[in-house]
């Protein structure tokens, strides 16, 4: 599904990703954990080229996204992304937030887009909020709308960049529930998160990153139960 080869990313002289090689299989849920500043968000943002890549390759379904011939906007419709800060469009209603990319990018008719959007809102449990503006929603509701908006493009992969980190604790559950449901439906997902419970329960594989490298990766039970690397042990002892 996604194949990352020797990915490197620098901001000026600061090397954030030093050498990342990883494959993500179809229908797999990969959870990326690590201390802050380890480069996990940057890694995720390189997968849809929201962040430019300094060196290395990212292949999405065998298409090299850094290739100049590649239409990155087309690739991005296949790769949904959910942000820590939701990034809903405040000047559009909830329904319009979801239909805007369908109409402008996918060139769907308004009616078709709206009925699809309503189905998605039902899925995330927010049918009654279609006509309100995002400002009147709680954090958890905003994030569920953001997930619905990304799903509207019918992506093959979903990237989650700390989707629950900006939420009040009592709202984390409702967002994780939607993500869990998505995983059960067979969506390929890459999730950067601090929710270790979610990683254990939903993740097929957990990747521990530190200082721009993938230090260790394994099945959740293995990685949490029997971490091999010193830095993984140190990190897990601090957070568990």
């Amino acid at each position: 599904m996604i194949s990352v080869k020797n990915l490197k990313k620098s901001f000026g002289s600061l090397e954030v990703l030093k050498d990342i090689t990883i494959d993500i299989l179809p229908q797999e849920v990969v959870v990326v954990i690590g201390p802050s500043g380890s480069g996990k968000s940057t890694f995720l943002r390189c997968l849809n080229l929201i962040e430019s890549i300094t060196d290395g390759q990212v292949l999405i379904e065998d298409v090299n996204i850094t290739d100049k011939q590649t239409d990155i906007n087309k690739i991005r419709t296949e790769v949904g992304m959910v942000f820590q800060q939701f990034n809903l469009f405040p000047h559009k209603t909830v329904l319009e937030n979801i239909t805007l990319p369908m109409i402008t990018v996918r060139k769907w008719k308004r009616n078709a887009a709206e009925s699809k959007a309503l189905t998605l809102l039902e899925k995330v449990g927010l049918s009654d909020k279609a006509d309100v503006y995002p400002d009147s929603l709680s954090g958890g509701q905003k994030q569920r709308v953001a997930i619905a908006r990304a799903l509207g493009m019918e992506p093959k992969v979903m990237l989650f960049d700390e989707p629950t980190s900006a939420l009040d604790p009592e709202m984390v559950g409702e967002v994780l529930e939607v993500m869990k449901q998505l995983a059960q439906e067979g969506m390929t997902m890459v999730v950067v998160t601090h929710e270790m419970g979610f990683a254990k329960e939903v993740g097929d594989r957990v990747v521990f990153m530190d200082e721009g490298y993938v230090v260790e990766e394994n099945k959740p039970a293995e990685l949490f139960g029997n971490p091999q690397h010193e830095r993984t042990q140190a990190f897990l002892s601090k957070i568990l």
């Binding site: 942000f83 000047h91 402008t104 990018v105 908006r149």
Partner: protein, 234 residues
């Protein structure tokens, strides 16, 4: 003179204020004509200033230094020199190169547009910059191209934030159009000066002119507040 004006005149006379309503009434048609020209010149200045300002604003954020530089010079020149000096330069030096006859209104419109563009450019730039980067990132992540991101996501939000500073700019421009009187463009203040010359009176013409300007700016303020409220998403 109508009864109403007569009554006011009597009141003024009774309390001992030396103010001749008949001058105001006599000159009213000229003041109205001047007001229309003031409105037309300001509207033309605002529209051309906005278009030019958008271009200058985009030029100023160009990636290449060599493209950015002339726009920075433009903005610095028009913001850093007095409007009256710009008006003289354009009316007496630049316009004669382009037009064979002097046209004071054209000179005034050109000066106001060029000057306003420098301020509008900064307003546009600041407005676009004020929109959170996450908005564009989210739009890009959904597959929108640069133009779609600007058109559907960034500009509508930026525009809303630009209304108050743009409104201020419109009001400043409307008031600045009175400098046209100095090059004898027949706008509102020009007719005020004409009346002063004709009657050797200062209070009546200038106070009337001031009140008309006030009426125009207050109306504009009200309209802009209305637009701002309409665009509110609450």
């Amino acid at each position: 003179m109508s009864d109403f004006v007569m009554i006011i005149q009597e009141m003024l006379d009774t309390i001992g204020i030396d103010f001749r309503m008949d001058i105001v009434i006599d000159y009213l048609p000229f003041f109205l004509k001047g007001t229309l020209i003031t409105i037309a010149v300001s509207a033309a200045g605002v529209i051309m200033g906005m278009i030019l300002g958008l271009l200058v604003g985009m030029g100023k954020v160009a990636k290449l230094w060599i493209i950015r530089f002339p726009f920075i010079c433009y903005i610095n020149f028009f913001r850093g020199t007095p409007l009256l000096v710009q008006l003289f330069l354009i009316h007496f030096a630049v316009m004669p190169l382009i037009l064979s006859e002097t046209n004071t209104i054209a000179s005034l419109v050109v000066t106001l547009s060029l000057n306003s563009a420098a301020y509008v450019a900064e307003i546009f730039r600041a407005g676009i910059k004020s929109i959170d980067k996450g908005q564009a990132e989210a739009a890009h992540s959904l597959g929108m191209n640069k133009i779609q991101v600007m058109r559907y996501v960034v500009l509508p939000q930026a525009f809303k934030r630009m209304i108050p500073p743009l409104g201020n700019e419109f009001i400043v421009l409307l008031k600045d159009s009175s400098l046209g009187a100095i090059i004898a463009a027949p706008e509102l203040l020009y007719w005020g000066r004409a009346a002063t010359g004709q009657y050797y009176r200062v209070w009546e013409p200038y106070l009337t002119v001031a009140l008309i300007y006030l009426l125009l700016t207050l109306t504009l303020t009200y309209l802009l507040n209305y637009v701002e409220r309409r665009l509110d998403t609450e």
